[in-house]
């Protein structure tokens, strides 16, 4: 699990570092591709797949996860020196759970439909291993600003993968993109009926598509697991 991401960069003591120095750009950019939380580190798969039947809930879900990662990273990093080592997991869980409760209450108040669609999976952000993994591997050992950048990188690294999965699942499974029908007009133009693929709406489609995305991405990266 989070053991293979433990080699977080050590704290840098240089006095005045540029706001977006090379090292900081790397903190943001690495998780987007070479060190992607889903495809390379194998974290946070549970929620990645469950909400990806349609694009719209996926966007909400990604925003929620980015929010929770960034702020939990920030808070843990701010109080990292006063957390006793033995109870740090409980402290981290309490911080994450509070943030997730916030997200869920806001959703319930302003977008009740989405709240119903996402259901239990909003609550499951608490046990999303990416959040926990970043807190353990990065925020516990780095300054607040760096931790926020790391949270942004990991959050969006997660977001673009699940958006890609959702795009293909909605296109092939429902024949639409963002609820705009794609299959019907094309079918009418060609004078045929395009059939949607029921497997894509099902959980199996998510496994297959994620497997294929991982294959493509790792082939491009040259990353090989042994």
């Amino acid at each position: 699990m989070s053991t293979d991401v433990a080699e977080a960069p050590l704290e840098v003591k240089e006095p005045a570092e540029a706001l977006l120095s090379k090292r900081r750009k790397r903190i943001v950019a690495d998780p987007l591709n070479e060190d992607n939380p889903i495809t390379v580190q194998v974290l946070g798969i549970c929620s990645a797949l469950a909400v990806t039947v349609q694009i719209k809930p996926t966007i909400i879900m990604s925003l929620a996860v980015v929010f929770v990662i960034v702020f939990s990273n920030l808070i843990v990093s701010l109080i990292r020196n006063s957390i006793p080592g033995r109870i740090r997991i409980i402290v981290q869980l309490a911080i994450i759970a509070t943030l997730v409760t916030l997200v869920s209450e806001v959703l319930k108040a302003y977008s009740y439909d989405m709240y119903k669609i996402l259901g239990a999976y909003v609550g499951l952000i608490i046990t999303n291993c990416i959040v926990m993994g970043r807190l353990e591997a990065f925020a516990m050992a780095n300054k607040p600003y760096d931790s926020v950048l790391d949270g942004l990188g990991s959050g969006f690294g997660y977001a673009w993968i699940i958006l890609a999965v959702a795009f293909f699942r909605e296109l092939f499974g429902s024949g639409s993109i963002l609820n705009v029908k794609i299959y019907e007009p094309i079918g009418n133009m060609l004078g045929v009926t395009l059939q949607t693929n029921g497997l894509m709406v099902d959980s199996i489609g998510a496994f297959m598509i994620l497997g294929i995305i991982i294959w493509i991405q790792r082939t491009k990266n040259g990353y090989v697991e042994h």
């Binding site: 194998v42 798969i45 409980i90 991982i214």
Partner: protein, 203 residues
């Protein structure tokens, strides 16, 4: 009878891994050997069977709107639902810790085989997920217990099957980019397809 039906349904049809994608992290990470997979699976069954009824009790007697009526009329209108996430995860983390200590004290042999997996379980989404589903579906206490046990057993079956396949997979020639996670994802998809054939089983 209803409880038995729920248990069977959550083992085969609404399988935690194949239908809801829960517990995927440990499902993928700890499925390289059958022996360790058995350990993790057993620990998951154990913890789920305890935490789901326990969280049911807390939900019904403390958190739900009007649930605290038993403490007096003043509390009848209190609604603590917003504390659900934080309380559930605290209960799970505390239970896992407690179970670990009890097993260590009374059965060192069992602790030796389950011990290392218990801390991992606190952050396994299948555990929290089951509690949240239990609330969503309005189960009674017996049904909640059956659901907890069934979900755990479903996870147990799935992880053992995957571990057995991956042990065999070592001898096959997988393309470089597909090694590890990629091929495991595809296999999980195929296993899910097989589990689909249980749809319609009911008592």
């Amino acid at each position: 009878m209803e409880a038995l039906n729920i248990a069977i349904k959550s083992i085969f049809i609404d399988n935690m891994v194949f239908a809801y994608f829960l517990g995927m992290c440990s499902f993928l990470a700890v499925s390289k050997k059958v022996k360790t997979a058995v350990g993790l699976g057993a620990a998951v069954i154990f913890v789920l069977t305890i935490t789901v009824p326990l969280n049911w009790l807390i939900q019904e007697k403390v958190l739900k709107e009007g649930a605290m009526a038993w403490m007096g009329a003043d509390f009848a209108s209190v609604d603590l639902t917003f504390l659900q996430f934080i309380i559930f995860i605290a209960v799970i983390a505390a239970m896992v810790q407690l179970v670990e200590m009890v097993i260590e004290k009374f059965s060192p042999a069992l602790y030796g085989s389950l011990g290392i997996f218990l801390p991992l379980i606190a952050v396994n989404c299948a555990i929290l997920g089951s509690s949240l589903f239990m609330v969503q579906r309005d189960y009674t206490v017996v049904e909640a217990t059956a659901f907890g046990f069934g979900s755990g057993t479903g996870f147990f079956l799935a992880i053992i099957a995957l571990a057995a396949i991956r042990e065999r997979l070592k001898y096959s020639n997988v393309p470089n980019g597909l090694k590890g996670l990629g091929i495991t994802m595809l296999i999980t998809g195929l296993m899910g397809l097989a589990f689909k054939s249980f749809i319609g089983i009911a008592l």
